[in-house]
């Protein structure tokens, strides 16, 4: 059974949804507070959504200096799977574990709605159980979700197949409709949509399952 650490910052608010979704898929989870200096023996790490440290200064700007982030960086550098969802994605970009930045949405509107995503790459721990061009309905819930990067970074993202998810219809002004990116190795992934809120058709969509199944190691290589 994969063991997943769910990092809890002051102001995180999706940690229970994330842990519940991962446990539905057979993982065991434990909450790791931001002041921890070690993750313990885990197979993966999730940085959940919310408003870490109140999102003061910029989303993720203060969270990246939380003590636990040194352990997350070490885990990532060793090839461990790391997933940042929404605010967790913002933290990973601020920490330099993922390229680019998340800016305020075009139109300055807080967006809370289902979106249709298109899988652009399966070269990541999040999308490895999905297939390219697969369409997934997953909700977004953010104010600063417009993915931004300079031209060199963008060219590098394309060259190394690091754009893992795109919006079918761009809701927020993200460059090239980007909804999620990975690092070059594919073991660190961030996305603005919330797959942990798309786990059941009764609640609108179960399309988040294939993403989180990939993350916990289910369905990999089944294609």
């Amino acid at each position: 059974m994969p063991r997943i650490a769910v990092v809890v910052f002051p102001g995180s608010n999706c940690e229970y949804d994330a842990a519940g979704a991962l446990e539905q898929l057979g993982a065991s989870t434990e909450f790791i507070f931001h002041s921890a200096t070690s993750l313990g023996e885990v197979d993966g790490v999730v940085l959940p959504g919310g408003f870490a440290h109140g999102d003061y200064l910029r989303p993720g700007a203060l969270a990246r200096f939380s003590p636990v982030m040194d352990a997350v960086s070490t885990f990532a550098a060793a090839g461990g799977p790391v997933l940042g969802i929404c605010n967790g994605f913002q933290v990973l970009t601020e920490a330099g574990l993922l390229p680019g930045a998340l800016q305020k949405n075009r139109g300055l509107t807080f967006l809370c709605q289902p979106t249709t995503l298109i899988v652009s790459s399966t070269h990541s721990v999040l999308t490895r159980a999905a297939h390219v061009d697969q369409e997934l309905v997953v909700p977004i819930n953010h104010f600063s979700g417009a993915y931004t990067c300079d031209d060199d970074t963008y060219a590098s993202l394309v060259a190394h197949d690091q754009i893992v998810l795109r919006y079918r219809e761009n809701p927020n002004g993200s460059r090239d409709d980007i909804a999620g990116v990975s690092n070059e190795a594919g073991n660190v992934v961030g996305l603005m949509p919330h797959p942990e809120r798309a786990m059941s058709t009764l609640l609108g969509s179960a399309d988040g399952r294939v993403l989180l199944e990939g993350f916990v190691g289910l369905g990999v290589g089944a294609r």
């Binding site: 910029r58 200096f65 800016q103 305020k104 990067c149």
Partner: protein, 84 residues
Amino acid sequence: MNYSVIVEVTLRSGIADPEGATIERALPALGFSGVSAVRAGKLFRFDIDADDADSALSSAQSLAERLLSNPVIEDAAARLDERK
């Protein structure tokens, strides 16, 4: 010595600025015409202990680049606050 410093954080050129664009669109309705190239940013003011003005500025610039700004999308510029 104790120096007062101002740090301005602005979006790098070429980075879209939805706040600046919204402000610019609102101005004509208020009767302000001819205003263009509006860019929104942040201003920080703080006091810092240092041996001299140069080291105060260099500390301020360094903390501005490390924490107050995100170098991926923003520039930071520190200057002494001459009013104090």
